[in-house]
Subunit: 410 residues, 2 copies
Amino acid sequence: MTNLIRSWVESANAPETNFPLNNLPYGVFSTDGGAPRCGTAIGDSILDLAALETEGVLDFGGTLGTGSWNSFMERGLAEWARLRTELTRLLSEGEPPRPGDLVALENARLHMPFTVAEYTDFYASRNHAFNVGSMFRGPENALPPNWLHIPIGYNGRASSVVVSGTPVRRPHGQLKGPNDEVPRFGPSRRFDIELEMGAVVGQASDGPLAVGEAFDNIFGFVLLNDWSARDIQGWEYQPLGPFQAKATATTISPWIVTAAALEPFRVAPPERELPLLPYLAEPGPMNYDIALEIGLTPEGGRETVISRTNFREMYYSTAQQLAHHSSSGCPMRVGDLLGSGTISGPGKASRGSLLEMSWGGREAIEIDGGTRTFIEDGDTLTLRGAALGNGFQIGFGECSGKLLPSRVLR
Amino acid sequence: MTNLIRSWVESANAPETNFPLNNLPYGVFSTDGGAPRCGTAIGDSILDLAALETEGVLDFGGTLGTGSWNSFMERGLAEWARLRTELTRLLSEGEPPRPGDLVALENARLHMPFTVAEYTDFYASRNHAFNVGSMFRGPENALPPNWLHIPIGYNGRASSVVVSGTPVRRPHGQLKGPNDEVPRFGPSRRFDIELEMGAVVGQASDGPLAVGEAFDNIFGFVLLNDWSARDIQGWEYQPLGPFQAKATATTISPWIVTAAALEPFRVAPPERELPLLPYLAEPGPMNYDIALEIGLTPEGGRETVISRTNFREMYYSTAQQLAHHSSSGCPMRVGDLLGSGTISGPGKASRGSLLEMSWGGREAIEIDGGTRTFIEDGDTLTLRGAALGNGFQIGFGECSGKLLPSRVLR
């Protein structure tokens, strides 16, 4: 385990900060209604990378002033490494070129850190697949026959991806309970979260990638909440998969934590229950040890942490998912977002969705001042995550969203 | 039925042309390696709309020089109508402002007519759903319980959409036959086409659309071939739907035939077998009478037309599909592409995929000089379509692609 790299930004040396110098996560921010620009979080501040490029301290072809990390990502792996090296040097030695280059986090508005090209969501945590499969198809058919061979995924809706803090409106949809004769159209009553990690693809490709190549093409990670209307999903998903159940919103955290920052936290995957085909073979450990939690805060109430789990639980790594995604020749693009799939641990306290925590709505969970099966109007759901180092942590910040009541339709 | 509007471009008055003045389809073309620009097809020529805007004959904010129709579409419905009116006047009266503004179709290279924001594929022809359902799940479970209530759709992969003429490479994937103990990774042996229409969304929305509003937001239509690897699909698609089976390529025709041009060809949908929920109610006929056919040409051989069907066969209209797509609050974007789903008629000669024509590969179909179950390397598949008027037709041109052998993987 590496140790803390000390910075002259004193708040970055505190053990509890999400953003020590070891992290250097990339986001897009604005101040006082100005233009969104690229920055890196350091302690309780943001270093204004667009300003540093304007001042000539950095030179990445003007990409840091574009209000999105896509153009920078396109420059390739050597440039990713060069920026990290230069920032590490700038923030460990000396002082900022100009005092104004360091902005207080609390004075900044955070935007989507990148333009989502396309969004894919996977289904790659064994405990989650077993739990949900049991509820939808019974325990004997819980794990589909292909599950131990394929990192199952489906295409999601990129237009619905929003940054942390964006309110989410309870959706309408077609609903049909098991005892209803016909479906009806109305607000979802089983609206849920999914605790996931999102991987940001930083390099385009146009043919099958080996797992090692896929690993190299991942720029970094965000927390991801794949809001899901379980009642819409249950009725619509056969035979072509989830569609409107997952199209209302997907929330991501505002800071892309780079693969480079997470390098010391790579761990081996769980044991393989069946041999994987050679095209999914990993040249090294490609899972990550990242502690995760979900907080639920009712309107005007206090937060309860309702689950604690870890990204290392994934049966398939992000690199395997990307390799599989490209296996048909599917062109991958800079800015593609890959949701890991809900991350559930083995125990009840480590489940990544309310569907699992309440076992299909049958067992309410306790929260401060009440109980929950699914999300109620006014609830705020917050994901947090961090890789824990020796006296420091590589934090992701928060991925948060409040549920608003459904629209009144004409 | 309206009659031919005569043009001074003589070739546009011939009964067999795809592009009479009644059509005015929108594409993107280039000549002599120059920059791609917007044009409209008229008879055997293209009217260079970028040039007309440069000359001041048209004024649409420079959008016609952008090499994509997205910026023009964003200008909205009134501008769509104004361009059509001005072009109809320009091409029926007088002569071109400059002779060079009219380019011979045969000298032009055609590009993607718009940037695909996101791609959604539906499953909305009753005959196709029944045929495929019978093969995948048996005739007793052919039509899923939700099918007569929901225009079933799933998100596809926008990065894989290519313009007619682009070769398609036979994909690799995980394959497992019903008698195989374990899957293997290799080239697809059951590679197929799907004859569809693609609708181009021309206006953004951010909440549930009524069917009438959805209808108005459709800019136009293209032919669409949703290439499908049936063996990959059969093994991967449960429970989250098709993924790599549909990610290799989707080919579209280069000309967007506008909804305005197709207005005289609106027809009522097939009779509803069950009542639809009110949010899917159509304020008028929203299907289209468009004759469709599929040609198969082996390497070095002659074309056989292997199917003839009609877009009017759809159980759900494009407007209903878009209304359903937006029902959860899913944000829709300019340039979203909605595949209708495979269009199969009632008889064997009107099936929209080889899967159906060969009944899962069991009954080879006859072609000139041989037989086929699925596509063989070197085969070219060509879709054609036209709405048939009184002495003229609103043609779509061709949607064509040749299958290349699979890659040799390391």
